[in-house]
Amino acid sequence: MHIAVEHLTKRFGSVCANDRLTVSFAAGQIHGVLGENGAGKSTLMKLLSGYIQPDEGRIVFNDMPRRLRGPGDALAAGVGMVQQEPLDIPAFTVLENLLCAAPPGIFRSRRAAQTALLELAGRLGFPVDPAARLDQLTIGQRQQVEIMRLLLCGAQVLILDEPTTGITAAQARALFAALRQIAAEGRTVLFVSHKLEEVAELCHTVTVLRNGQVVPPGQLPMPQPQEYLLVLMFGESGAAPPIYRPLPAIDAPPVWELRNITVRSGALHLVELNHRFPAGRIIGLAGLDGSGQQVLLRLLAGQQAPDRGQVLVNGRDLTGAGALAFRQAGVEYLPADRLHDGMIGALSLADHFALLQRDGLLVDRRRAEELARQAIADYQIKATPVTPIASLSGGNQQRAMLALIPPTACGILAEQPTRGLDVASARAIWSRLQARRDDGCCIIFSSPDLDEIMEYSDEVIVCFAGRIGPPIPRALLSASRLAELIGGVGFDALVNVAR
């Protein structure tokens, strides 16, 4: 199906997320959509798939203007969107999830639905168990289920918003193969991403958005030089990547020490953890989704108490003391989902600084606003002290979260610190974290992005199937070796050598 938008405009308050946008996408191709955070990619995709409605302009499918009142409307018209976070019903099985929102008349029976699902899964190369519950699947598997659900419900246009965030490299390869197959069958694929390499590998055309507009007007055929695309996305000042510099060995006392820890969480069972995490290091946690990184971070943040063993922070035994005690001991936890459990969306940066005030009966408004103004200047946050956090872009929210780390923090636990951020925002975040490291913080972060792990870690810890490997100095590690270890190749040998 050929889709086009004409003079499409969508405003959120005073922000014009899509500004008289005109572009079209031909059938049978994979179209990349690039842009930094806040460029208007997600808004355009949500407009096309009916999640939000435009203020002005038209959406045209196969030369027919359409008004989409909701995602169901869009799917009936042939457009389906795979959200960044899976929007499914976790307690349902794969088959139930497929049946529950299917338009009437598509499947004659449960059995017919199952047959159709298995047939499509075979064609796309997705291994799927129709009876598996969604909450037992990985993000990548749920994404595959969602793609198949949309196709079976008649989607002729498939929109994917940052589909490779949070899935494994193998799942990404399977996804790419499936998307090529889907396009070859005559459908249209819109692929939204930050990652230039992925767009270069997969897409037939590319559309670059900046400040809610297409630059230059219209689509570009791929391939395009990477530097040119970067300039289109960010303007002329594409910053150079930071240079990796090896750190001198530090004999500082450990920020965290784990002694003979045993902990069980869901299906994972971590045994005999003995680790010391020294100050002044950035430690990257690498591994497939759900291999134990989250459990380790929660353990170090005090959110999960071990079944056996001791957790020491700066030499003090805080086993089972609770997250608040860990925080008071200088541990700061930065969750991946910033608005879910990171910050309070309806409150402003000044309110957050006021929340951090620990003494006094009354809120010191003036001081809080002063700190907020300072943070806005220091961290280059695009906001005023009284703007609600929820109305900031992802990159600015992440910067605000970093600005809120108290200066006394000695250990920072960051879950996917640059999740959903564009290259420039990610670099800004990392330069901040590196500055904290140089001030003597121990920073432990998890990331599904191996490039990020390789680029910023001083030491890498590989997690594999609930086992936590020894720290490996970054200088001794190559990208291919890291990829092998994550897949379990040579992991046993690594652990044995460490013993």
Partner: protein, 340 residues
């Protein structure tokens, strides 16, 4: 400029439309009974201001109503739906009776103080039981609150018919009246005890100050908006939630104490008279802004008092005040949802 003016008009039209819709619905109900709606409205809206006695009745209803609504605005700020406010009021009334019955010969001023303290404590205990059920047994505060309401009603009935029954014979109409000198002093020939509205206004002022100016209030609001994020930023979220429940319980308990020493002068089974739940409507209507609590509580109290004359003058049930109050809240919520 033009859009600014349009926005202003839009922001005013919604509340006005809600008001019109509420009165339209109430008028329909009135028309179905065959009475003149204008006559009925005259009584419901202005009846409470027609004589000094009715005015004083209205104030004596508005005082506990305001106390409950103020308490509920704290729990709303903390993100909790404290439907147990009715039970907390009853528990407060029962607890307030204890010192009055134990030491009736003590000086009245001391007894009132003790009774207020005891009533507040009763409300706090009842509220914290809800908090404990929520925290440790994972029971929603809504269901815990409703359950605790039944328990409190049952306890009040048991006290009235059992340990504190009348000396002549047990009666559903309540315990023996308190000695005259223990009644909260009233203004000559009126049933108005000035202490009651003063306590309610003081509570309103203190709570408004606490929620908007203090660090505690900011923390409570943060917990109400996002407990997980507030916890990450170092706020003791579970504790703050329990504190909001306790604060609401204390105010509801004092409302219960006022019902005993200033209105009924005894413990009666229906000591709360639905005031707690009416307070819930007031708090819902005023939710965005505590400054609205006072006018809304006064309006609702005057509807209730005004409608008492309906059965006598017009021969229709006084429940029409409830229809008006409910319709107002319903349409206000609808209007607010449309703004979002």
């Amino acid at each position: 400029m033009r859009t600014d003016r349009l926005k202003l008009v839009a922001s005013l039209t919604r509340p006005v439309l809600a008001l019109v819709a509420a009165f339209a619905l109430t008028t329909l109900a009135l028309l179905s009974t065959g009475v003149s709606p204008l006559e009925a409205y005259r009584l419901v809206l202005f009846g409470a201001f027609s004589t000094p006695v009715r005015l004083s009745d209205m104030i004596m209803l508005a005082a506990p109503l305001l106390l409950c609504a103020v308490g509920l605005s704290i729990t709303f700020a903390g993100g909790l739906y404290n439907l147990g406010v009715e039970g907390q009021m009853i528990a407060g009334a029962i607890a307030a009776m204890v010192p009055l019955r134990l030491w009736p010969d003590w000086p009245p001023l001391l007894l009132w103080l003790l009774s207020g303290l005891s009533g507040a404590t009763g409300g706090v205990v009842w509220a914290l039981l809800i908090g404990a059920l929520r925290q440790y047994a994972n029971v929603s505060e809504i269901f815990a609150g409703l359950g605790m309401n039944f328990l409190a009603s049952g306890l009040a009935l048991y006290m009235v018919l059992g340990p504190w029954r009348r000396q002549t014979s047990a009666s559903l109409s309540g315990t023996d009246l308190l000695p005259r000198d223990l009644w909260l002093p009233t203004i000559d020939r009126l049933r108005l005890a000035p202490a009651a509205p003063l306590i309610a206004l003081l509570a309103l002022a203190v709570v408004w100050w606490a929620l908007t100016k203090t660090r505690w209030g900011l923390e409570v609001r943060a917990v109400g908006l996002n407990p997980a994020a507030a916890g990450r930023l170092g706020v003791a979220a579970a504790r703050r939630m329990a504190e909001t429940l306790a604060a609401c319980g204390a105010l509801a308990g004092i409302a219960g104490m006022l019902q005993v020493v200033a209105v009924h002068h005894a413990l009666i089974p229906n000591i709360s008279s639905g005031i707690g739940l009416l307070g819930l409507l007031v708090a819902l209507l005023a939710r965005a802004d505590p400054r609205w609590l006072l006018p809304i509580a006064v309006a609702f109290a005057s509807f209730t008092v005004g409608s008492i004359q309906l059965p006598l003058t017009l021969g229709i049930d006084s429940a029409i005040a409830g229809v008006l109050q409910g319709a107002l809240v319903l349409f206000a919520l609808v209007a607010r949802a449309r703004v979002r």
